[in-house]
């Protein structure tokens, strides 16, 4: 167990190192994307560009720059933006992370619970109307783009019906830190959570339903039924536990990617200054330190979420323990 966790950790470091080098190289190897010219602005005089290049250390060999950047990011923590020189990267990222984490974690709880419910209900009533209805709904959920759903939600809750009894409690767009007021934190996030979770409820529900139905073909389900277990017990104890493993693995991927910034559309629609939005803005102006930091942050969460999911799978399925 310890060996497995250590090798997991080692792999995480290797993955992050690889990603950082790749990001760095893409930034410099992309033709026509001279970072100095970018920073100096349009129509800058060659002398200005040269000055900027020297100023930012861009005239040094690439590996020196890479080393300096890594040192500033992880050791001294005083990495500053190329574009907005006063801006310290690490604190900015640290301020954005809780927003994204709050958004994704809350949505994840929702989509896992509702997705599992959808899948189990649909599988239990396979071919009958609850199944057909749930599958129709989840198809819609998967088909509707998140930014459109978000805008519609805003239209209703913030504008059209905001002054009715139903939505008057909805706070204005934006994020309230949990430490400031847990209640207002939750209220502000209710609709972002629902909007983000919507798609995944549909996706996970369909996936779990298929998994459970496939599991019903297994010999051990026949054994369980021949034992005289009730239909409910066969469904919940014997079929669902096997079928949930691929869903959990999928969850690890999705959760990591979303925390890493893929929730950007939801963040933008609901005015949340999260990591996704930060990354998007840094990309627009090719702000290398910011891109670097947020990409590394994202890869950290993807790898971490996967490691956690691996451990979870080992808990669910003992066969994965012997390796």
């Amino acid at each position: 167990m310890l060996a497995a966790m250590l090798s997991r950790l080692a792999r995480m470091v290797v993955v992050m190192l690889g990603i950082s080098i790749l990001t760095f190289l893409i930034f410099f190897a992309t033709p026509g994307a001279d970072p100095a010219a970018r920073i100096a602005g349009r129509n800058a005089a060659p002398e200005t560009v040269a000055a900027v290049r020297h100023d930012f250390g861009l005239d040094q060999p690439i590996w020196v720059q890479y080393g300096a950047m890594m040192r500033k990011m992880f050791i001294t923590g005083d990495l500053t933006s190329f574009v907005n020189r006063g801006e310290k990267i690490v604190p900015t990222l640290r301020a954005a992370a809780p927003v994204t984490l709050s958004l994704v974690a809350g949505a994840a709880v929702l989509w896992m619970a509702l997705g599992a419910l959808t899948g189990i209900l649909a599988a239990a009533t396979r071919g009958r109307w609850p199944d057909k209805m749930l599958m129709g709904l989840s198809m819609m959920a998967v088909a509707m783009p998140v930014f459109w759903v978000g805008e519609m939600v805003n239209l209703i809750t913030q504008s059209r019906l905001h002054n009715t009894w139903a939505f008057s409690w909805v706070p204005p767009l934006g994020y309230v830190p949990f430490t400031e007021s847990p209640l207002r934190w939750a209220l502000a996030l209710v609709f972002p959570w629902l909007t983000l979770a919507f798609l995944y409820i549909g996706l996970y529900g369909r996936m779990l339903r298929t998994g459970i139905i496939e599991t019903y073909q297994e010999d051990y389900i026949r054994t369980a039924r021949a034992k005289g277990l009730t239909a409910r017990r066969v469904l919940l104890k014997h079929a669902t536990r096997s079928a949930i493993i691929p869903v959990v693995i999928m969850f690890g991927m999705d959760f990591g990617v979303l925390v890493g910034g893929a929730a950007v559309l939801t963040e933008v629609v609901f005015g949340l200054n999260g990591v996704g939005r930060l990354t998007y803005q840094a990309l627009k102006v090719l702000d290398l330190p910011m891109i670097m930091a947020s990409v590394l942050y994202a890869s950290f969460f993807v790898v971490l979420a996967n490691a956690i999911v691996d451990l979870l799978c080992i808990l669910i399925d003992p066969r994965m323990r012997r390796k």
Binding site: L6, R222, T223, A226, K227, G228, T230, I316, D317, R322
Partner: protein
């Protein structure tokens, strides 16, 4: 109700009809009016080949078929309950796992892989009768001891993957006994098991039946198992009962041609005593019942010079593990194997699963992977040490017939394409010649040349195996390695394919390495037999010598374990302890002991232990 059995039946089935939903709301009937009775303490066997409806019948009795796609009509009365009139809730509360329990064919997949054996046993105990956790645990240990699982208390917390197939089937039996059922339905319970394990499980079932006095419905295709287990036998063919009677009657004086054909195709161990050469199975016309006795093989092997000579063949696989995936152990799959095959000779390699017989077959054509060493000579060519291109050319001379013909035929290629491909690949001639040869071979294996345009799924299992034989013959090989090639086939089909192999040998003088666990078939087809145990040959010699005077204890045990289709031997009990695990995984430091062989009679060698 008139009742043919002396004791009042526990289970009475009358006019049972089972249909499955077909295309466009039609119903296809697969069981047409089956009636049978099973009394307490009695065993009734339901015998038939695949597609006879025997398994469907057993599932119908537990009402385990999906009600949305199946229809069960008629009457099934178990212990006073009319099962077809009960609600699903009543089936759960009163019948399944209570009055009737079931064990299945595949012990490897019939237990839930992610719960411990104890969990699953305790669940079977408590789902009908609530009891305290400690009491349930005690009862589970008692059940495991009753089915003779060694070290039961400790093994209760193990997961199914830590058990061998035989031990898992014991767990299944323990689970089925949990509620002291009135009826135990056993659906091919030993088909997936090795012979020695099969013998153990059958003995166990007999003992437990006597102890519990339960009725047993035994579904099987294996006439040997029927003869050993059943008081009465019901023979099914395509959903109909064709013959019914006491097992004695059915075996001694079968009335129906189909039963006669079925019994004639069953290889009976010992039936070859006194026969000098391999003998074809008798052929019985199912329509008329006319019998043609099997003819012996006319062509004799040429023992002047070996065709394929294997010397000191060793195949090992590394087991890796730990943080840096270092070698932690080694599987000694094949250890110091030596044998020779002569032209027109069949050498059989017999042994139980995991003994290395299949690995040997693959190592000879260097497809085994792992590390192999030793020497394999085909005529004058040494196969080990050939470069890839020359090895490829040599593979033409040695062809394989696989165990699973469907899996080894590409579903997207017509049979014609599949047959022509190796011929063209080895540049043996133009396309027209290849087609002509394919058509001729189809004829030889008993299929119409017009079928070359069909796809594999359009053939039956036996036909597919004929196709694989035809494909192997396309390259005019000198040796064919037949790896469990007839094991998955129905008995009557198996007999036909064995006859076909003998025909081919007679005509072409091909040599076979016949790898099989089925000793009764091996006895019929082979000239010489090699018995493998844990990667080594323990005994090798002429067929008659090995079968009639087995010298090594393992050979004796293997022969003793085979179920003989002779009801007179029914009451013999085997007195063998459960076999030890066959595990060829060794430490890295393991040095295989050097072996010596004693020549008992000319050509009959036995390992000295």
């Amino acid at each position: 109700m008139t009742d043919p059995t002396p004791a009042a039946p526990i289970l009475t089935v009358r006019d049972l009809r089972v249909s499955f939903a077909g295309a466009r709301k039609s119903w296809n009937r697969v069981v047409h009016g089956l009636s049978l009775d099973v009394a307490a303490g009695e065993t009734v066997a339901l015998v038939g080949e695949s597609g006879s409806g025997k398994s469907v019948t057993s599932l119908a009795m537990m009402r385990l078929l999906d009600p949305a796609t199946s229809r069960i009509e008629g009457s099934i009365t178990l212990d006073g309950h009319e099962l077809l009139a009960l609600s699903e809730a009543d089936m759960v509360a009163k019948i399944r796992g209570q009055r009737a329990t079931m064990i299945f064919q595949e012990p490897m997949t019939s237990l839930h892989p992610i719960y411990t054996v104890g969990d699953q046993l305790i669940e079977a105990l408590t789902c009908h009768r609530p009891m305290a956790a400690s009491a349930a645990r005690k009862a589970a240990v008692a059940l495991m001891e009753r089915v003779r699982i060694p070290d039961a208390a400790r093994r209760l917390d193990d997961y199914p993957h830590a058990f061998s197939g035989g031990m898992r089937q014991r767990v299944m039996i323990a689970m089925a006994l949990a509620s002291r059922p009135k009826l135990l339905i056993a659906d091919e319970p030993t088909t997936a098991l090795d012979v020695t394990v099969q013998g153990e499980i059958l003995s166990l079932l007999k003992e437990l039946q006597a102890e519990y006095g339960m009725a047993m419905l035994f579904v099987t295709h294996d006439m040997g198992v029927v003869a050993e287990m059943a008081d009465r036998t019901v023979v099914m063919l395509r959903g109909d009962v064709v013959e019914e009677g006491t097992t004695e009657q059915v075996f001694r004086a079968p009335r129906q041609p189909y039963t006669r054909a079925l019994l004639a195709s069953v290889p009976a161990l010992g039936s070859m005593a006194g026969e000098p050469v391999p003998l074809r199975f008798p052929v019985i016309d199912i329509a008329t019942g006319a019998a043609t006795p099997g003819t012996p093989l006319a062509r004799q092997p040429d023992f002047s010079a070996p065709l394929l000579e294997v010397r000191d063949l060793v195949t090992r696989f590394d087991v890796r593990g730990g943080l840096l995936r270092r070698k932690v152990a080694r599987v000694h799959a094949v250890e110091n194997l030596s044998f020779a095959i002569h032209p027109a000779e069949t050498l059989a390699l017999v042994g139980e699963s995991g003994c290395g017989k299949s690995t040997t077959g693959r190592a000879i054509i260097r497809l085994a992977g792992g590390q192999s060493s030793g020497s394999v000579r085909l005529g004058a060519t040494e196969l080990f040490g050939l470069d890839a291109a020359r090895l490829r050319r040599q593979r033409r001379e040695i062809q394989m017939i696989p165990q699973d013909p469907l899996a080894s035929l590409n579903p997207r290629m017509t049979i014609g394409e599949a047959l022509v491909e190796p011929f063209l690949e080895h540049r043996m001639g133009p396309f027209a010649a290849a087609r002509a040869k394919a058509a001729r071979l189809m004829d030889q294996v008993g299929l119409a040349p017009q079928m070359l345009e069909r796809f594999p799924h359009e053939f039956s299992g036996g036909q597919r195996q004929r196709l694989c034989i035809a494909r192997a013959l396309m390259l005019d090989p000198k040796v064919i390695i037949a790896d469990e090639s007839v094991s998955a086939l129905d008995v009557s089909v198996k007999a036909q394919v064995v006859n076909l192999l003998l025909d081919i040998q007679e005509r072409t003088g091909i040599a076979f390495l016949f790898i099989s666990h089925d000793i009764a078939v091996v006895e019929r087809i082979s000239h010489r037999i090699a018995v493998m145990y844990q990667g080594e040959i323990v005994e090798i010699g002429p067929r008659a010598a090995v079968m009639e005077t087995p010298l090594h204890p393992y050979t004796r045990r293997l022969i003793d374990a085979v179920a003989i289709p002779d009801p007179a031997r029914r009451h013999l009990r085997r007195s063998q302890p459960p076999s030890d695990l066959m595990n060829p995984i060794r430490d890295l430091s393991f040095v295989p002991p050097s072996r010596r062989y004693r020549e008992a009679t000319p050509g009959h060698f036995v390992r000295e232990d």
